[in-house]
Subunit: 201 residues, 2 copies
């Protein structure tokens, strides 16, 4: 079995198998695809991986993924730079942007406060957020941390630091997820939906 | 939407999305993993892809994937070099080897004869197989092409070229797949099972 693959193929399968959601079978299948495809195409993938690790750095304003000093959103003058939406990770930002409803700018925390994992406020970009708000241009901070214990805790901590500054602090609405059924909603979701009930007429 | 990702991230998502079984959502998820993982780990993957394309070439005897002149199987003196198992692709070889039942060597055709796709006998490594058999050391050639119209056709063509040479020509058994049910087996499978029925006592 061990002699089945040459060293470089073994290494490729092993590396591919580390990717999330790629099991040993899929890693083998992907490796065979890479072996079978043109050299140009395979090297394009290798170079894309290398480029991303060498060129991507945090945006100096919001810590989103950027290639220059600023991310594409912070660099966009048509954006409303007076409203900052606070997210945990760049992928949360992407999910929000895909709705097409956001014209604000962001602040990427880099995670959430989680004492159990040893992640305190100083490990996130909270200081820089407070600075941005203090600079005086910001009218609203929209908390878009995950609706979890840690996410909520992080949002509350930030809100407490912003108290006293002339800025409106909001958070994304809680309630029933669209398309779901009340029958299968859990207590927590129903409680949010009941307490946050909205006027419809 | 277009400004969501920087150029290098867009390119990585696009390249990952070309892999088989990786849709746009998975490509995004993998890209975020690569962005998030350590630089060392990401570059290890990029290098593994590059290495495989630069170091892997066909075995000079059997056309299996090899790093040196010979593949690990052809280079193994404990193998029975007098029995050659003919497969279409390296991944067929891997599937057979995983049974742990094979001690033979292989010959990788590089596909099957398929006039509709413009693939004739000259596009495969058939000539080299005939040469190997002619060299006189080979006692048995086991056809392990796919049990399809094209695979069977390719096996028959090769068998006809080997006719007259002092070599036994066999093919993998046809019949009911283990673990299946007769109720749902199709006519072709049942016909193979009936015609090839085996004595059990």
């Amino acid at each position: 079995m061990d002699s089945l693959y040459t060293d470089s193929i073994k290494r490729l399968i092993e590396q591919l198998g580390r990717l999330p959601g790629i099991g040993p079978k899929s890693a083998e299948r992907l490796a065979f695809y890479i072996l079978h495809t043109s050299k140009d195409e395979a090297l394009a993938l290798a170079d894309a991986i290398r480029a991303v690790k060498e060129q991507i750095r945090p945006c100096k304003d919001c810590f989103n993924l950027a290639e220059g000093p600023l991310c594409p959103i912070c660099a966009d003058p048509r954006r409303d730079h007076n409203t900052i939406c606070v997210v945990e990770q760049p992928k949360d930002l992407v999910a929000l942007e895909k709705t097409g409803l956001c014209n604000w700018v962001y602040h990427v925390l880099g995670g959430h406060i989680c004492p159990l994992d040893g992640i305190g406020p100083a490990d996130l970009t909270i200081d820089r957020l407070i600075e941005r708000v203090r600079s005086g241009q910001v009218r609203e901070v929209v908390m878009a941390t995950n609706p979890t214990l840690d996410g909520d805790g992080t949002a509350l901590h930030i809100a407490s630091l912003l108290r006293g500054l002339p800025v409106r602090i909001t958070r994304l609405a809680r309630g029933l997820p669209a398309g779901s059924t009340i029958e299968y909603a859990n207590d927590k979701v129903l409680a949010d939906a009941i307490l946050g009930r909205q006027t419809i007429q």
